[in-house]
Amino acid sequence: MTHAATHSAPQAGSANLLLVLLKARTFIALILVFAFFAFAAPNFLSTANMVIMSKHVALNAFLAIGMTFVIISGGIDLSVGSIVGLCGMVAGWLVLYGIDLGLGWSIQFNTVEICLIVMVVGVLIGGVNAFLITKLNVAPFIATLGTLYVCRGAAMLFSDGRTFPNLNGNPEYGSDTFRLIGAGNVLGLPISIWMLIVVALIAAYIARRTPLGRYIYAVGGNERGAALSGVKVNRIKFFVYMFSGLCAALVGLIISSQLVAAHPATGQAFELNAIAAAVLGGTSMSGGRGRIGGTIVGAFVIGVLSDGLVMMGVSSFWQTVIKGLVIIAAVVVDQAQQKLQARVALQAEAGK
């Protein structure tokens, strides 16, 4: 793997420093990106911009958290972007029309009920993904590619491709608070950020301190071995895809509330941003390795990068190119870090 290293002690010291830097690489990248835009883009550091940017980041971060679990378990979820779109349309429909039972009257819902129904829809779609993958043995890539198309099509069918406008709700039904999800503030922070903090903490807790989290890593590392150890592999897969669906539903709710409108094309290519954030944060595409904290930082890097470039007036074509380069660079650095880590450990040992 690595070649014999016979360097002397001072070099080992600098290598150690380099190692620390590489370990915190995503974080350092974030700081650099931040510093650069603070310098290059006027108004970048203004409070208003910070709030807008954090809202953008939050959307991707939700999806990336769900994606991280899926990828750690050895799978992939391409359908999240479409779930965002579909869930937004469901929310819009419920706010505007409620559920029409066809008996001349309809059931109307208040905000909390709407949120719950939309979340259930997201979880169910995740459940369909998991069902295809575990029971029908469809490869995750294909299964979620299928639901990607189905959900997008379904979102279009909802309104014949039109936008649901003016989701202001109706005070009579208690749905006028729907707008607050995207627009409200608590203690100076947008509600969507609070939601992100809660979801991220729960996810990190699951990953580190619960058997469920441990099993997710085990399934991604060696599915057969995990099964023989008594891990209920199918259940774990159901969890990760349903959780990913839930995260997507939250994003659908937040976006439609922020825009006070639901558009069926919302969320296109979101899944790719989510995957990018997870990978940037150190999640291994081959499963078994990854951290929620890393993913959040990764989401920030991508979010700050795209917003900053927009503010600098860089063309959107170049933005796309730059995003791609950053992702590739991140993975290259990740490999370098692993090699260097082994080498530093070797030197420490040889120097004894």
């Binding site: 619960t210 590392g221 099964a227 023989l228 150890s229 891990v231 450990a345 070797l346 040992e349 040889a350």
Partner: protein
């Protein structure tokens, strides 16, 4: 009789993160002879061989061939120098056929492009004839048992026509008859002047086949001599510094009531027929039941049926007299059954997780209240088991893949014991572990049995079978062909029973 030295290591040091696996070793490999290598788990045997095979490079020191230093920077280099190796852990592609595996990277081609499958198949048949096995060249390797895969590995190394052949525990999953065949092949190669390195924890094997012996201890060579006058006691002393091998100290204890019963367990084979053919056995609390048989007798498959790995298996399983309704592995584990699988790399461990996470994977419930895992308690328990099983580790947070083969096995055993089973199924529990650890594992088995655990263990090692079992069941061709009390069992009886239903000429064209 002298043998020329074909390869030397001088001042070889190998450093891994956290360990010095080799500390300035000088090793001579003699041609036309069998050089055996012994040492405890983690002593550095595999490391030394990986260095010779070009898989790992020495941190310091050099390798000489015919007096000249050589640089072996990859298996390709080593192969060019005529060095072939059978690794301790299997390195086959389960999704390819036997023939494809044997000729991987050395395909027989027409004009360097088109693979000549017919020629490869024919050559594979030839190799299998030489090893007296009827494994079809077109079988997927993933469908083979571990023992058969070992045969494929051996065939693969034979196909290279190597001048130096390294066999790192090639027999750990083979039973006596198969070992005999391998020894005949080795004797053959010796006559052709091939230098052979042979690593094993079965000391009798070493004494029978070795011409020279090298003992490794903690990365240093503590003894190297010709095999003349070496006996088991000498090896043990050189290995661990004392001559103790009392692995079956008897603690006589009464058996309890029946704790486990299997009735009519049946498992269809992929190609038709039955891999497990209406097998029934019962086990009392505190009893150790040894299951013996040749390769392909269906022993491992039987254990796998019991743990619930094959959902389509037939039969009834009882624990404490109650029939188990659950068919899932998790359910069976909860009912008090635990399995130590044969293939630790693919079935027993999650390689990229840490030692701690692997050990507790089956018993996380014990450290959990509600959702919350108590990591402190987890570490404490792991520390405890590491000590009890004398696992040699630098830190329990290291990936399990950094452990030597035997120490990995101990982690798997620890994992099973942590579930506090009532019935423990062990498939070749001593595979790859050194005599010290073997003694420890066997002592643990005895102790657990004395505490009322029922143990079923599958072994290919006759000595182990005789020393440990309270009762012996022999299987052949998926059926139970003999059952003996320890007092009445003799090696001849057991071997005869294990050959029942086998044709006298083992080599025949398989009917895939």
């Amino acid at each position: 009789m002298t043998h020329p030295i074909g390869l030397q290591i001088r001042g070889g040091t190998k450093v891994y993160p956290g360990t010095r696996a080799l500390k300035g070793v000088d090793f001579d490999l003699r041609m036309g002879a069998v050089n055996v290598l012994v040492g405890e788990n983690g002593a550095g045997k595999s490391t030394m061989m990986k260095v010779i095979a070009g898989v790992e490079q020495l941190t310091e020191g050099q390798i000489l061939m015919d007096g000249k230093p050589v640089h072996l920077n990859g298996t390709d280099d080593a192969r060019r120098h005529g060095i072939g190796i059978v690794f301790q852990e299997l390195n086959l592609f389960p999704n390819m056929t036997v023939a494809e595996n044997i000729f991987i990277n050395r395909e027989i081609t027409r004009g360097r492009i088109d693979i000549d499958t017919a020629a490869q198949r024919e050559a594979t048949r030839g190799l299998m004839r030489r090893l007296e096995h009827d494994i079809d060249p077109d079988t997927m390797v993933g469908d083979l048992r571990v023992g058969q895969q070992q045969i494929v590995e051996i065939a693969k190394s034979l196909a290279q026509d190597a001048r130096i052949l390294i066999l790192d525990e090639p027999t750990s999953a083979l039973s006596a008859a198969e070992v005999e065949i391998l020894f005949r092949v080795i004797a053959d190669l010796k006559k052709q002047g091939v230098g052979i390195v042979y690593i094993s924890h079965r000391l009798e094997e070493l004494i029978r086949i070795g011409d020279y012996i090298t003992v490794l201890r903690d990365g240093a060579i503590t003894g190297a001599r010709s095999m003349e006058g070496v006996d088991v006691d000498w090896i043990v002393r050189a290995m661990i510094g004392e001559a103790s091998r009392d692995f079956a100290k008897d603690i006589d204890h009464p058996y309890g009531p029946e704790v486990f019963r299997a009735e009519d367990v049946t498992l269809p084979r992929a190609g038709g027929g039955l891999a497990v053919d209406h097998v029934s056995m019962s086990l009392r609390a505190g009893e150790i039941l040894g299951v013996y048989g040749l390769m392909g007798a269906g022993r491992s498959e039987f254990l796998e049926c019991v743990i619930g790995r094959h959902p389509h298996a037939g039969g009834r399983i009882f624990v404490d007299g109650k029939q188990l309704r659950t068919k899932t592995v998790a359910g069976r584990i909860r009912s008090g059954i635990a399995l130590i699988p044969e293939d630790r790399k693919n079935d027993g461990l999650v390689q990229i997780l840490s030692i701690r996470e692997n050990m507790t994977l089956s018993s996380l419930g014990a450290f959990t209240t509600g959702f919350h895992m108590n990591l402190g308690a987890e570490r404490g328990t792991v520390r405890d088991f590491v000590k009890r099983l004398t696992v040699k580790i630098a830190s329990m947070e290291n990936p399990v893949s950094s452990l030597s083969g035997g120490n990995q096995q101990k982690v798997v055993i620890g994992k099973a014991l942590m579930t506090r089973p009532k019935v423990l199924l062990m498939d070749e529990p001593s595979r790859g572990i050194d005599i010290g650890a073997k003694a420890e594992v066997f002592r643990t088995m005895r102790k657990l049995a004395a505490e009322g655990l029922g143990i079923v263990f599958v072994t290919s090692d006759m000595e182990e079978l005789m020393a440990l079992s309270d009762r012996i069941v022999v299987m052949s061709n998926g059926r139970v062909t003999g059952e003996f009390d320890r007092k009445d069992a003799t090696e001849t009886l057991v071997i005869n029973a294990s050959a029942k239903g086998h044709a006298p000429t083992p080599v025949k064209e398989p009917v895939a």
